[in-house]
Subunit: 226 residues, 2 copies
DNA sequence: CTTTTTTGTCACAGAATTGTAACCATTCGT
DNA sequence: ACGAATGGTTACAATTCTGTGACAAAAAAG
């Protein structure tokens, strides 16, 4: 996945830098401005994935910026998170009149803003992950976190579950041990590739009669039939 | 248990699926169709609690569907939320002539639509039963703020109540501690995820024989059986 | 203000999970 | 057929996770 960009529009330097730092720490790219007019230009030119917008800005204020963003078809789809003081007309802000996707009330914690950003990004990304996966006699439901072989529920540990999910999401494709390690264990894992083998074995044991959907591709890795 | 059902009428598959996912995540049941005529049949047969209706549909368009729903006494009471493009004659849509309960302008965020649905349901549902949730021997009534295990009333604290309510609203789905914290404690809570465990424990203690509906999903979080 | 209730955090023990290494079994090229 | 890779199996120590009880701070009730 590509890096997502956040546009921060806030005139108070301290707050802006704090937010910028937090966003960067979470792996986002950051654009900053203290000015409403510049925010509009930046939004149009750079198409950020989300905008964090202070309501009180010198010159063109946050409300006007937000409305302008909504009116422009180029930027209308970008979610906006408003930073507001308590008691401001939140219904109007989030309603259609202004059109913000969400808001955070000052004083806020960076954690709170981060959560809003992530939540908003999850909501607006048009590719909802498929939650139900299946192959052969095996069914996996990521939302409910259950796996069935035929009619029988199978209890998997987290790692086993994630491993099976990764294989199913790439059903038909070979997955090398390295790919699986990156996807299931994360990039920071520094262990042996053979770890995958052990978990494949445990998976097969638990899947019982359904185990034959997992094929070994010698010299490469594993693959789900299909 | 009374799960509320939403009928989604939208021909663009991506949008429909995104909305469906959002509704399901919020604990609603979902019916989907891309076709105006089928929408009428479905509405009559299944009596959904709300209908989200795209204005632009191939064949029978949204306006006609909405008018037809209004004329039929079986469906006239079902609130309709229209998805419209900007600049369409919103006054007519929500007014007497067409009779939609509310509308959302494209492009919209799922959050926006969700808020409309909930607001419309709140306005139209006069039946307190619709706030009733249940699983196994446990019944929870959000409106009256009471919980029963079998015939025995159980007194819960606010936090315990909200926790149980959140789990019940996502019955069958795993809820991670993070998700629960965000939903029950709010985004601004900065505490420890293990706090959830303690409250789960207190809940289980109070639920007594009904406690077995709360399952621990090791490595992930908790889930209500079902 | 005092008492009671509720709530969040912590420490700890038991249990489940996991990564690794060592050892077989199988496959493949020669 | 043989040796070298490669994958399967097993056992085990280390780690991680959850349930529990205790406790102090915070909130609510009196």
């Amino acid at each position: 996945m590509t890096v997502q960009t956040i546009l921060l529009v806030e005139d108070e330097k301290d707050i802006r830098e704090l937010l910028a730092l937090t966003c960067k720490r979470e792996g986002f790219a950051v654009l900053e401005t203290e000015n409403g007019a510049k925010a509009l230009t930046l939004a149009r030119e750079k198409k950020p994935d989300a905008i964090v917008l202070d309501l009180m800005l010198p010159g063109l204020d946050g409300l006007s910026v937000c409305k302008a963003l909504q009116r422009d078809p180029d930027t209308a789809a970008i979610p906006v998170i408003m930073l507001t003081a308590r008691g401001e007309e939140i219904d109007r802000i989030v309603g259609f009149e202004v059109g913000a996707s969400d808001y955070v009330v000052k004083p806020f914690s960076t954690r709170e803003v981060m959560l809003r950003i992530k939540s908003v990004l999850k909501r607006t990304s048009l590719v909802p992950e498929q939650t139900a996966l299946a192959s052969g006699a095996i069914r996996l439901d990521a939302l409910r976190h259950v796996v069935f072989v035929g009619d029988e529920e199978v209890l998997l540990t987290v790692t086993e579950f994630r491993l099976l999910e990764d294989l199913l999401r790439h059903a038909g494709q070979v997955r090398s041990r390295e790919q699986v390690l990156d996807a299931v264990w994360g990039y920071s894992f520094e262990g042996y590739a053979r770890t995958v083998d052990t978990h494949i074995r445990r998976l097969r044991a638990k899947l019982g009669p359904g185990a034959d959907v997992i094929e070994t591709v010698r010299g490469i890795g594993y693959r789900i039939k299909g």
